[in-house]
């Protein structure tokens, strides 16, 4: 034991005690001076006083010296830390150079794990975590209504005329408010006529968002008043694309749906509104939203206007919710006779929540999956290092015996892991720069449209944090695997251990077990996605998409003012299309979107809704939609003949179970509306109208020629023309375009495109997610297999002598094979069991991402388990074969 005194000397020897040293030094000075003065004959008392006087104020001297010394100490300590860090790193590098295969394996594991994580995180960060690109985005909210009698939840929209009512909340809970509606504009002037995505917005919208124009100005109050000259704002994208980034654009005019509008501003680059993720296209042209008498009249009939508001500073969501609920509750009283006896509920949603709603779940599942991959990668490296540590047991024992502290050894492990993780992380970031770009490019439009995904400082910071945590975790594991008591033993055995030590082997086995369990979860998740995709691919779209081309044409009410004009023109186009030699049949349809309807003689508790479509003659034949009951429209229906309708199978099943719906009558709206009753003449097969994996919806078809009350939307009537061709539809595109041009050269055309391609493309999002999740699962499987292989190969090496003895005393190579493979199978089984439990509880969160597959789908679970088990046994088989081939003589004699 050290004595207290020697301890102090020890400290002073190395680090010194500056204060004491200084006192000693000054005392010597005083004594020396005193001696000299006394020797010169001075009185001792006077000599003492004189010595002190000459030395001066000691307090100041002490303070000054202490300051200098402490600073010096600090600098020396820093230098020492730096020096030891350099030493650690140098040792680590030397160590890793000595086992390059381990180093390369570990670096690759990290590069893959960190790279995949960084790529996915860059996307997740952009889409989910980053604040919306508007000042104080937390105060931006959307208001939407729900009509409980009509079923369904909150629409997320209001009826445009109601804006005036909700606007009363300005100054109470909202600072500013605005409405907007997505639409399509026909743009003329400055080149070919073109259909672009646009938005009609209140003049106040940009004030709500607090975004200024990059050039010119945004809308001013009054720009959306009736009767003032039309103004428009361009997005940066269209300004560059169509107008060649014309710096003198402000003040020029463009034709929007045939109306000349003055361009007053260009929005900044990166301004994307309506927000990507809200489900509609980012607008390229903004036009004021006019509350016309027609809009007033559509109050309560037409819902589809988004209401955005900025909360007053300090106003809470609860206050806003109360405010809008109050207004909504009084709408029926304030506007008697408009809403009938309807209940109107309104709610407020944070804009951010709404904007990420659609993709949130799939992104978080991907993030979790990629996190698991990194975890497996870490476990693999950890397991490798553990094995490596076992081999270095002697080195560590010697160093411990020579006085290296456990902390010192842990620090060296940390240095080694840091080198591995940093190298792997750097490689991973390179991989991620490429990966995030690839992700952004390949991601289907709906996911990333309008977002700028890149690996930036924020993402790198997160990566660095992950890497640092990884390094700490994997370095602590082996360091604490060095049991104190093994010290002497290891020295004595000269490293000739019979096995890696039971504790350490158990440690590794636990790691590999965990790995298998995690891989099992990944494989199950990916399996469910793959099964969903396969099921979705095999879904019958309800029509024959082969050899089918489609174009969309929008007719403006300024060119085709009456419904008769519209229908005549549309009929003309169809005739021209049919005249093309390569075309066997052609027809058209126009969506009326979702509307409420009534059934004659039924008093339903909730008003049912159905998707309405106006169809021209030959529609069902052209698309080859089967007729399940009754007949298809004859094509001779007119406004003079009796009103007829067709319904789809889903509607028939839901509302006419066990009854033949043919001959029954339905109408739009409630039973009391002026809309005439229409007789159901036939039932058509269900059609996947939007996507293969979309849910079935009740649908009603009407003859277009019979719809004098036809819905010409506020700005344009849009119809889709379908053309069945003899050969590949692409061959007829030119002729189709020509046919339209010959009818109206100024009409912008969307398409033609191949319907079959569109159908396949409707699964793009699902394919993307499945592809990613599948790749991660494969990565996880490979890593887990490598882990098992590493463990078993190491175990076989460690047990060479034991196996040699077994073989020598009569075991057959087959027995040895069975022994090793059996052990692998046991480990794999336990891992699989744990993974199964994990998967059972975790796949539930994927429910919404699956299609026609239960999250507990037994086929997937059994398949994943068998696959993993097979891989595990195979990974164990290779070392087992090596074990069986051991030559007993040399094994026993070895070292």
């Amino acid at each position: 034991m050290r004595s207290g005194k020697s301890w102090i000397r020890y400290v002073r020897f190395w680090g010194s005690d500056p204060a004491r040293d200084l006192d000693d030094e000054l005392r010597f000075h005083l004594d020396a001076r005193y001696d000299e003065l006394v020797a010169a004959g001075m009185d001792p008392v006077a000599a003492r006083a004189e010595a002190e006087r000459r030395l001066g104020d000691l307090t100041t001297v002490r303070e000054k010296c202490a300051e200098i010394d402490s600073q010096w100490e600090k600098e020396r300590a820093m230098a020492e830390v730096f020096h030891s860090a350099v030493t650690d790193l140098r040792l680590a590098l030397r160590q890793l150079r000595r086992s390059p295969s381990l180093a390369i394996a570990a670096v690759l594991c990290f590069a893959l794990g960190i790279g995949a994580n960084t790529s996915i995180f860059s996307v997740v960060d952009t889409v989910l975590f980053r604040p919306l690109p508007f000042p104080e985005p937390d105060r931006l909210v959307l208001v939407g209504e729900a009509l409980p009698q009509f079923g369904g939840g909150n629409f997320g929209v209001i009826s445009a005329a109601e804006y005036a009512d909700y606007r009363q909340l300005e100054g109470r809970v909202f600072e500013t408010t605005a409405i907007y509606e997505n639409t399509t504009f026909s743009i003329t002037g400055h080149g070919e006529p073109e259909r672009v995505s646009g938005a009609a917005v209140s003049a106040s919208l940009f004030k709500v968002l607090r975004i200024n124009a990059a050039r010119g100005r945004t809308f001013l109050p009054g720009d959306d008043a009736l009767g003032v000259p039309t103004v428009a704002i361009l997005s940066d994208a269209i300004w560059r694309r169509r107008f060649g980034a014309d710096s003198a654009i402000v003040g020029k005019t463009i034709g929007i749906n045939g109306v000349q509008a003055t361009i007053v501003g260009v929005m900044p680059r990166g301004f994307a509104f309506p927000l990507p993720g809200l489900g509609s296209d980012v607008a390229d042209v903004f036009e004021p939203y006019w509350i016309t008498p027609a809009v007033e009249q559509s109050r309560g009939n037409s819902y589809g206007t988004s209401f955005i508001a900025r909360l007053l500073p300090g106003a809470t969501m609860a206050q806003a919710k109360r405010g809008v609920a109050d207004i909504a509750g009084r709408l029926t009283q304030v506007h008697p006779g408009v809403y009938g006896n309807r209940t109107i509920l309104a709610d407020v949603f944070p804009l951010h929540e709404r904007a990420v709603g659609e993709v949130r779940r799939s992104l978080l599942v991907l993030l979790a999956a990629v996190g698991l991959v990194l975890l497996i990668a870490c476990i693999n490296v950890s397991s490798l290092l553990l094995a490596h540590a076992a081999a270095r047991r002697r080195e560590f024992s010697v160093r411990r015996a020579l006085g290296a502290s456990r902390a010192r050894l842990a620090r060296q492990f940390l240095a080694e892991s840091l080198v591995l993780v940093t190298t792997g992380g750097a490689l991973g970031v390179l991989f991620a720069v490429w990966g995030s770009r690839a992700l952004a490019e390949r991601a289907p439009q709906a996911l990333l449209r309008g977002y700028q995904v890149s690996v930036d400082g924020r993402v790198l910071l997160v990566t660095a944090t992950i890497a640092a945590l990884t390094a700490i975790v994997i370095s602590l594991l082996p360091a604490f695997q060095q049991p104190e008591r093994a010290l002497a033993g290891a020295l004595r055995e000269e490293g000739r251990a019979m096995s890696g030590g039971p504790a350490r082997q158990r440690g590794r086995r636990t790691l590999v077990l965990t790995e298998i369990a995690l891989a099992m979860i990944m494989a199950t998740g990916a399996g469910l996605m793959v099964r969903s995709l396969l099921k979705a691919r095999n879904v019958d779209p309800g029509f024959d998409p082969q050899h089918l081309a489609a174009i969309t044409l929008g007719l403006h009410d300024y060119r085709y003012p009456t419904p008769a004009d519209v229908v005549r023109f549309e009929g003309d186009i169809i005739d021209r299309l049919r005249a093309i030699p390569a075309v066997t049949s052609a027809s058209a349809s126009s969506d009326v979107s979702s509307l409420s309807f009534s059934i004659e003689g039924r008093d339903l508790a909730t008003v049912p809704r159905a998707h309405g479509t106006l169809v021209f003659s030959g529609y069902f034949e052209t698309l080859r939609i089967p007729i399940r009951a009754g007949w298809a429209f004859t094509g001779r229906e007119t406004t003079e003949s009796p009103r007829v309708a067709m319904i789809n199978e889903t509607l028939a099943r839901q509302f006419f179970p066990g009854v033949n719906p043919v001959g029954k009558r339905i109408k739009w709206g409630s039973p009391t509306t002026t809309d005439p009753w229409r007789t159901i003449v036939g039932v058509a097969g269900d059609v996947k109208g939007t996507a293969l994996d979309a849910a079935e919806e009740p649908a009603v078809y009407f003859p277009a020629l019979q719809s004098d009350t036809l819905v010409v939307s506020r700005l344009m009537r849009s119809a889709s023309y379908v053309v069945r061709t003899r050969g590949e539809p692409g061959a007829a595109f030119g002729a189709i375009r020509e046919a339209v041009k010959s009818a109206d050269p100024e009409l912008p055309i969307v398409g033609p495109h191949s319907v079959a391609e569109g159908v396949a493309g409707s699964l793009a999002g699902r394919e993307f997610n499945t592809m990613l999740l599948g790749s991660f699962a494969i990565l996880a499987l490979v890593l887990a297999a490598a882990g098992i292989y590493g463990l078993m190969a190491h175990a076989v090496t460690q047990r060479t002598r034991e196996i040699g003895i077994r073989l020598a005393i009569g075991a057959t190579p087959m027995d040895v094979l069975r022994l090793v493979v059996g052990q692998t199978a046991r480990i794999a089984s336990v891992g699989l069991a744990i993974g199964l439990i994990g998967a059972l509880s975790l796949t539930r969160v994927m429910q919404a991402m699956l299609f026609d597959v239960s999250p507990l789908d037994p086929t997937t679970f059994v398949g994943a388990a068998l696959l993993l088990f097979g891989i595990a046994v195979l990974a164990g088989y290779l070392p087992a074969r090596r074990a069986a081939a051991i030559d007993p003589q040399s094994a026993i004699r070895a070292d």
Binding site: D21, L22, D24, E25, L26, F28, H29, D31, A32, R33, D35, E36, R54, L55, G56, D57, L58, T60, V61, K64, C65, I68, D69, Q71, W72
Partner: protein
């Protein structure tokens, strides 16, 4: 006022210490004695201020210190000029010569300072 004097003295004191130590290692008291002896007690330095200067010089690596025994067997801290200190002394000496030469030229052009020695 006092500050100016100290600032001025500081560099000078450093130079005096370095020069003193160039004769060989000695302790703080030895340095004080030597300077007083050579200057004939004309240049009276406050002995206390010697120690912060010594610590500072040591920190800069111009001198090094070690504990030893004095002539009359007392434990004393001995300072020694390092090779970097020797370089520093050479550089500082020439700077000082230029400086003092220039200053004295200015001063001698008017009248003789009474304290010059």
């Amino acid at each position: 006022m006092a500050n100016d004097t100290v600032e001025l003295l500081q560099g000078t004191l450093d130079l005096l210490i370095l020069k003193t130590l160039s004769w060989g290692s000695t302790h703080g008291y030895g340095i004080a004695r030597w300077i007083q002896q050579v200057t004939g007690d004309v240049l009276r330095i406050e002995e206390g201020s010697l120690y912060p200067a010594l610590h500072r010089l040591e920190k800069r690596g111009w001198i090094s210190s070690d504990w030893g025994l004095s002539e009359n067997n007392r434990r004393a801290k001995y300072y020694e000029l390092t090779s970097r200190g020797k370089q520093r002394l050479r550089a500082a000496t020439s700077t000082w010569s230029v400086f003092s030469g220039a200053v004295s030229k200015v001063l001698t052009s008017t009248d003789q300072p009474t304290w010059a020695g």
